[in-house]
Symmetry: C2
Subunit: 314 residues, 2 copies
């Protein structure tokens, strides 16, 4: 793989642009809206400069990295020489379906066409196109230049070599790919998030604790270990005899909890309003953008520091 094309620009496209360009790849960008292309370039520049200020990217490399990003005047020109196309178009089925009809013609027969979609399976927008075996989902967690996880989800007709090449490319650019065997609603990440959010809203709705308490339970409790160990490793280290010992002792308790939690609830307007009021008490609406920038600065430093600390202690 040598040439990367990004189709569909904006926030995600801009962050992807930095992921590939800082790893040394040439990147063409296309979006039907010139404004969106400019947004992606601005996002990439801001992100690169923030990384440089935090010593996470050599300052003298910033311009080189950004120089690898080249807007293309048409879809055809963007993808003509691309070995790998990362599509980040809007999350609307009709938009993707139309785009993939064009991509099928414009992209080379050996190119990988990967979608950033967080919710649509590739089978929903690649069914009818020629060369659909080239298509796969490569779902990033926003923003991918700070959060390495990428979920790779094949459609039933995706060629296994497309999955393998996507996996290898993601590793080559420093991301952490995981591979799903088949399409499933929410993929893995949003299913795990769904489980936590459902319980968080349930606890608040039932008056057990406040929204701030739910957040503290994570950010001062569970999240401290989950930052560097997954849930299975966490319980593996929480019993004398490892995870089998843990499950033998606590499996029945968790099964009882799971039965209580098998209580799917829509999030009512009143409930959402309560949680929103708690959030606005912490971060007024006018400060949300500043808080997002704070989050990204924290993420950048924490991810680098984590790598150092975890290696240092091994």
């Amino acid at each position: 793989m040598k040439n990367i094309a990004l189709v569909g620009c904006g926030l995600v496209g801009g962050s992807w642009a930095l992921v590939f360009s800082r790893a040394g790849f040439d990147v063409t960008l296309y979006d039907p809206s010139p404004t969106a292309v400019q947004t992606a370039l601005d996002v990439a520049r801001n992100a690169a400069e923030t990384l440089a200020r935090q010593d996470l990217l050599h300052a003298e490399r910033v311009e080189d990295v950004l120089a690898r990003l080249r807007p293309a005047p048409s879809l055809a020109e963007a993808v003509r020489n691309a070995d790998y196309i990362q599509e980040s178009a809007p999350e609307r089925l009709a938009v993707k379906q139309e785009l993939y009809r064009d991509l099928a013609v414009a992209a080379g027969p050996d190119a990988v066409i990967a979608s950033s979609t967080s919710g649509l399976p590739a089978s929903a927008f690649t069914a009818g196109i020629p060369g659909r075996a080239r298509c796969v989902v490569a779902h990033p967690i926003n923003p991918p230049h700070l959060i390495p996880l990428v979920e790779i989800i094949p459609a039933p007709w995706t060629d296994p070599s497309v999955v393998a090449r996507t996996h290898a490319l993601m590793q080559a650019v420093g991301q952490v790919p995981i591979q799903l065997s088949r399409e499933i609603p929410g993929f893995v990440v949003n299913r795990l998030q769904s489980a936590v959010l459902a319980e968080g809203f349930r606890l608040v709705e039932d008056g057990i604790c406040s929204p701030d308490d739910v957040d503290a339970a994570m950010s001062n409790g569970l999240g401290l270990r989950w930052f560097f160990m997954g849930p299975f490793e966490t319980i593996d280290l929480n019993a004398q005899g490892g995870i089998a010992d843990y499950c033998r002792k606590l499996g029945p308790m968790y099964y009882d909890l799971a039965r209580e939690q098998a209580d799917p609830r829509p999030w009512s307007e009143a409930l959402v309003a309560r949680v929103e009021a708690a959030r606005r008490g912490r971060t007024p609406a006018a400060d949300l953008d500043a808080r997002k920038a704070w989050r990204d600065r924290c993420l950048a430093r924490l991810v680098r520091t984590k790598r150092e600390i975890v290696q240092d202690q091994e």
Copy 2:
């Protein structure tokens, strides 16, 4: 509050001992087994020395901190002058019931008696004792000297001032208390963990992805934000208009997922064996203790570094 008594020693007791003594409190320790008292003292010493090696505790303070820990020859002497008693006896109902009958007599009428129990509600072992309004659960996440979260759960008869004094003490020693309105199975932390584990085991059982992939989805994805922001703040910052906007757009998707996840399953032996095999491939059984020590060294550094980074970026 001035004098702390720890009743029931061992791993949790030893970590609690350090929490209170490093904050300047005098701590008496009692356990019917002298071996358990020694274990707690050893745990506290090892933990204090590890913190000192990592510059998280001044080296010259270590002996002062440990000198505040004084084993008591009997339960009565341990708790006689205690303003606050943290009980960390074994998680067996009959053991706690008998212990609380003795504690009710030995403890002062104004002392707080807080249990470290992770699963038993205070109502189950304080119902019949005199002065039961003094009793509450203060559930730490292990090890409390590294993980600040403490869940405070009153029994129906717990005096509100007991909850308030426990809350204030936890804040005074640098822990982060959250307050539940009433007893509920799993409290908050284990309910959130239950939701994640249930989904993790479901994904593996259904062949969607490997146990390592579940762990990576957390430790390279969701867990990076949950380390310093809870799940509500995370989604609040993931939509232009904050959490209400997020829920309006994605609530229906999460409701669909919640309905799919309303599928409680016991963890079968075969399933646990698969996850265990994956874990042993990463950490052989003989290395589990070393890995636990690694985890605690990482935790100590990460929690301190997190505080610095988060403040630095504000």
